[in-house]
Amino acid sequence: MKKLSSKIYMYALFTFLYLPILVLIVFSFNASKSMARWTGFTFDWYIKLFQDEAIMSALLNTVIVAVAASVLSTILGTMAALGIHSMKKTSKSVIMGVTYIPVINPEIIMGVSLMLLFKFFVDSFGFRFGFVSLVLAHISFDVPYVIYNVLPKLRSMNPNLVEAAKDLGCNSKKAFFKVVIPEIMPGIFSGFLMALTYSIDDFVISYFTSGVKVQTLSIAIEAMTRKKINPEINALSAIIFVVISAILITKNILENRKLRRERAQFRAAQRKESAI
């Protein structure tokens, strides 16, 4: 009884979460522009989407901004994490407190506050809104996620490893690149991925800091939704849905497999032990 009600509840919840997205996807193949009546199958909206220059240039802009911002914030954030890790408690907690601000601050406030800063740059040194302002804004909200991913790896690293490397003849620089960096690499990588996804997904902060010339994909999508009917959006949602699901599901399968393999190895080791 309890099991059944749980199942029904979860099915209802997933219906609520997925129904709107599935409707968009189904109607991306609809021959007419209507989102309410099915009139026949077509691929036209996909073809139109790829011919839409505004969308394609927005996609390119998004990739450029997201890659630039996440690479730079990975470097800045990893350096920061290394520095913060070796600080004393008080200065560490002050910096971590400030690092928390972009994470909890409402996006609109980050957006308008950076807009005011860039306006000031425009007035004082002829700065222009565009790629540079976008990348600077994105780095500002990306860096905390890199720090949050790298710091735990530094904390869980055995401090004797560096000493051991030095005893075995490494100088500090070599010990750092041969021992510390490989140890924290998983954290750096997941921080980079998080920064990348947040950058690609961002609308609000980009909206206030992009100016009028450069559009990212989110901004282009928002502009499209203001038009009454536009089935290209449905096609775009379908593509995004397939890509995101593929990435997340593959990641999940790989993790599960790794877990299973580790368990199997653990059991084999136990069996060996008991045989002896």
Partner: protein
């Protein structure tokens, strides 16, 4: 180890320029007029928008409560599933989160339309067409739909740590299902609840996209007003900054209220 502290210097400079100074600019703009002299007029002018401010807080609170009610059983069910099922269920919760949120909101815009799919479906039974969009309910629905995963994930991350034997012990000692929830699961989930409440309330109270797309201008929120002061028709960054300042105070108040409940390191990271 001395050189390694210096590695944080670029970041410290960065947060000074791109986090601290911009927030300072908001305060400065809020307290000055267009000629740059000190004034409290912007804060007084806020009184015109009091109803908008209260509506934002009210909508965000309703959305947060609905999310909590929906997420609590879901997170609990997931946390008691087999471990392989758990990770798949969590992925299923996360997939919609990674789809651009404007697209998700657009989907509801189309579903709720007077000529949309829901009304067409109801029409088959001779009901409607109902007014589903451009009202308060649609805006709150948009908030719940977009931010529900933000409540489920932190709740799940604390509930998964609750030992099954603790629950069994309560049951063995004769606790009913209601008192099991109220006296065991709820107190142990408190850090997740406070994280989830903040994670839903903050984006809800400050949104302008959801209210614009699903409210159709009938239920403007504080975010809409701020947006229109910076990029919209009524350009006035001084008044906009005053509103942003008030919004920040609301958010800080909420955070200090809810951070008391649990230590925030736990489950704080989604």
């Amino acid at each position: 180890m001395k050189t390694s502290k210096a590695l944080a210097i670029p970041y410290i400079v960065w947060i000074l320029i791109f986090t601290i100074i911009p927030l300072g600019l908001i305060v400065v703009f809020a307290l000055t007029d267009s000629s740059g002299s000190f004034t409290l007029q912007n804060l007084f002018d806020m009184s015109t928008y009091m109803s908008v401010l209260f509506r934002s807080i009210f909508f965000a609170m309703i959305a947060t409560i609905i999310c909590l009610i929906l997420a609590f059983p879901a997170a609990y069910i997931i946390s008691r599933a087999k471990s392989f099922n758990q990770s798949s269920l969590i992925v299923l919760i996360m997939v919609p989160m990674w789809i651009n949120f404007i697209l998700r909101t657009y989907a509801w815009m189309k579903l709720l339309d007077p000529n949309g799919l829901i009304n067409n479906f109801l029409g088959l039974f001779g009901i409607g067409p109902l007014n589903l969009i451009n009202n308060a309910g649609a805006v709150i629905l948009g908030m719940v739909y977009n931010y529900l995963p933000f409540m489920i994930l932190p709740l799940y991350s604390v509930m998964v740590k609750i030992d099954q034997s603790v629950i069994e012990a309560a049951q063995d000692l004769g606790s009913s299902r209601l008192s099991l929830v109220r006296r065991v699961i709820l107190p142990l989930s408190m850090p997740g609840i406070s994280t989830g409440v903040i994670a839903v309330f903050v984006p809800s109270v400050s949104t302008f996209v959801i209210s614009r797309m699903l409210g159709g201008g009938t239920n403007d929120l504080i975010g809409d007003i701020i947006e229109s002061q910076f990029l919209g028709t009524s350009y006035n960054p001084h008044l906009g900054s005053a509103m942003a300042l008030v919004l920040m105070v609301i958010v800080l108040f909420m955070m200090s209220l809810f951070n008391q409940f649990g230590n925030e390191e736990e489950g704080a990271m989604i």
